[in-house]
Amino acid sequence: MKKQNNLEPPMWPIRILRWFYDDASVEGITGDLFETYERRLLRLTKTRARFYYFRDFLSMFRPSAIKKMKRNITPNAITMFTNYFKLTIRGVKANPMISLISILGLSISISCCIVLFVFGQQIVTANDFIRDSDNIHLIYSKAIDINNDAFDWGRTPELLGPALFDEAEGAPLMTRYKRSSAVTRYDDLVIEEAIQFVDVDFLDIFSFDLQSGSRQSLKNGQVVLSNDVASRFFGDQDPIGEELMFIINNERIPLIVGAVAKKFPTNAYFDFNLLLPFSIRPQVDDWKDLTHATFIKPSNTNLIQTLMSKQAGYIEAYNSRDPKYKLTSLATIPFSLLSQHEHKIVGISSVVGRENESTLIATIFFGALLLFIACFNYINIALVAASKKLKEIGLRKTVGASRKQLVIQFLSQNIFLSCFAVLSGLLISYLILMPLFSSFFPLDFALDLTDSRLWIFLLLIAVITGLISGGYPAFYISSFSAVNIFSGKQTFGNSRNVLFKLFLGLQFGITFLIIFSGIAFYQNSSYQKGLSWGYDQDGLLIIPVESSEQFLAIRDNLQQRSDVTAIAGATRHVGKNNSAITFDMASEKSTALNYPVSDEYFNTMGIRLFHGRGFDPNMGNDRNSLVVNEAFAKKYFIQELPSSMADENGNRYEIIGVVKDFHYRNFYSPIEAVSFSLSKESENRFIILRTEASNLAQLDGDVRRMWLRQFPDYPYNGYLQADVFDRFFREMAIPTNSLITFAVISILLSSIGLFGLVSLMISKKLKEISLRKVLGARMTDLALLTNKPYVIILGVSMLIAAPLSQNLVEGYLKEVNAYPVAIDYKIIVPSIILLTSVILLTITANLYKVSITNPTETLRSE
């Protein structure tokens, strides 16, 4: 019965069955499978017959059938595996350099994966130390902005929480969370600390572990310290029962320390510094006052609906106070969603932070890339190494080894090797990479060896790398027919092999991408460090003050100093904080940043005025004048000076001058419309001093001493203007440092992989090379000969990888940064040179060995 080919049943299910059943039963079963299929083919359509065929195949895996399956783990099999293990060890010993290269390569990339795993876990498990977080709900506002567009807002009226709480039945727990700061004093130590006002239920809702003290502290009107604060103020001393003095709204409030929290876990994106009970604040009675967050933990979920149904009155109470953003309704979201998923609630990220999901994706991406480089290395080396074993394979096949046995042997040897690699990778990451990466990030990561997830991950990595790196060689080599091997027809693993070229090319391409990104990020950060800020930030000392008295006292004192070349005051200061003015444009409302400053400000800061004039304190109406930047002028089409604009309340502003654009925040965001107005002297809270850059340290020290003499109750917070972007540069340094590390590692991986590969190749071609030498070939010819195939692969892979990397990196930098460095030859050329020279050096290093051996040595043997 001859069937057309397309009516043949697929054979792969049979092959799979053969894996599970012994040969005897597989024969009967597959025969029945075929026969039944053929019979059905006569009655049914091909599709239906096939469907039944697959159903029959799957039915062989029913639980009762599995009992009949072959037992793989027989005493015999155990002996077999121990022998494979022995063989693996012997293989390593017999070929120490190549094995070392493969294992080292794998373990380096595995150690990177471990670091990335810890990092990824950090993000995935964010805030998981807070128990029962599904049951904690944030109440947030649905509000409308000045242009009547709806948005979700994390803030809620301060009175809302207590009001809901008073009405609720079933005793829900409620806490508000309001950030503030207070001058905090213990003995002689005065520090301005961030504080959080919370309600008494806070510690009952959020299960922060306490190091010492009582969970009832807030209820007793005592403060709760974070571990950091406790060690800052008290060192090793026990803080419980000690008294801290706070200055809040110019009022001195002594409070007893009731409890100290344990050090927050590294995955804590919700924490506190100093918890103060709301009760110590004078109770607000204005619905307009807002709190940063309101959380409730109801005893049952119906309660939330009940509470939410009562919201209309509260919204009305808030809206009747004529706030900037009116509320339309209130909504709730579980805390667990807040910390782990994308949400659009404005302002909540400062309370419950969350890593960007793109960071996670980038992490996984680079981990996978590195692992693949190592696997490619391994595959290439394994392929070439196996060519030495061809005869062995042929012989084993001849004496009756089944293909399955060969595959299992190769795979199990690979998995043994990758287990070694995982263990040494763990060691490398523990000793080198973990500390290195911890120094990049502001958090301290640690490898928790007791974490079961880590071990599951390691096991998975071992098996996956074993399968990926061993799978291809195992299946490929075992497919050779013994006859071909012995007749010498079977050739592979040389540079004519397409797959081999592909692997090598891919590896070069990936290495190029990583090197390219590393260089691009490095160039970017040095480019941004060199960018002009638009004013002269060097030689500026800024002294924030708490009150008008402090301002006047310090300023008057400093005005007499000869080394202070200019002095200015400001209510809000560039680089620190700003206010905003909302202008009423014809079609919509539009907000621009505003800095109220003194008339000396531009001169002191070095901000250049290039149209109109600055403020003149002698002209009475300068109170309603604005000096704006170029972006402002462009945005609002200011054609001539002075021109006039009105804000939403109908106040008119006269625009009298335009200054050059300057960077006021950081390089993430572009320069937007900025305006300056003339500040009232009594409201100035910053003193800006200009001096010679060399005098700065001296001046800073003098001002500090003067401050401590005059205002011992207040901390001295003076800082250098040149440092205000430090945080930005530190943030940018994180991906830069990580990428440079990755680039170094990937170069290392590629070169040791290539080194192993080339040395294997050369040892195969040793005779050929020796003959050439004998016949008078020069080393340069030989170098050309051996390098040629690699140079071609490298060239092709770079031709593809270069534009790809350029687009990828450029896109990313533009996405994150408003002022990225241009991706041009300055980045492409070094990357190409670096990769090419590393690769050529690696190959040439191998040739050196050949050049010093006497060709007769190799030719004489055999």
């Binding site: 009967g28 597959t30 029945d32 075929f34 159903r55 039915s59 029913r62």
Partner: protein, 107 residues
């Protein structure tokens, strides 16, 4: 050995093996089951039933000839053992006895 009771499907398979006498192998049993009962059993179901019957000692298996339609695979023939025959008779007697005990059965 776990019980020598016959399950419903096992009983059917055992009967068919008996019916087919010298020509009882996997695919034939399946075909016969389809024909006689209108069921559409899967190869896996039939094989696991036959294997259970072997475990219980009701049938024994031996290799037969290969054929082209089986892609060169040999057939595995099944044969009733004396124990299998006894089991068939016993279940039939049990059935009949119980059937007769039903007081009134329409039709």
């Amino acid at each position: 050995m776990k019980g020598t009771n016959l399950g419903e499907f096992e009983e059917l398979a055992l009967l068919i093996v008996g019916v087919l006498a010298d020509d009882a192998y996997g695919a034939a049993v399946i075909q016969e089951l389809e024909l006689r009962t209108g069921r559409n059993p899967s190869v896996g179901a039939v094989h696991s039933a036959l294997n259970r019957l072997i475990d219980k000692g009701f049938i024994k298996s031996e290799y037969g000839a290969a054929s082209e339609v089986r892609r060169g695979r040999r057939k595995v023939f099944y044969k009733l053992t004396p124990a299998g025959e006894t089991a068939l008779i016993r279940t039939r007697e049990l059935r009949n006895r119980l059937f007769d005990l039903i007081p009134k059965l329409s039709s």
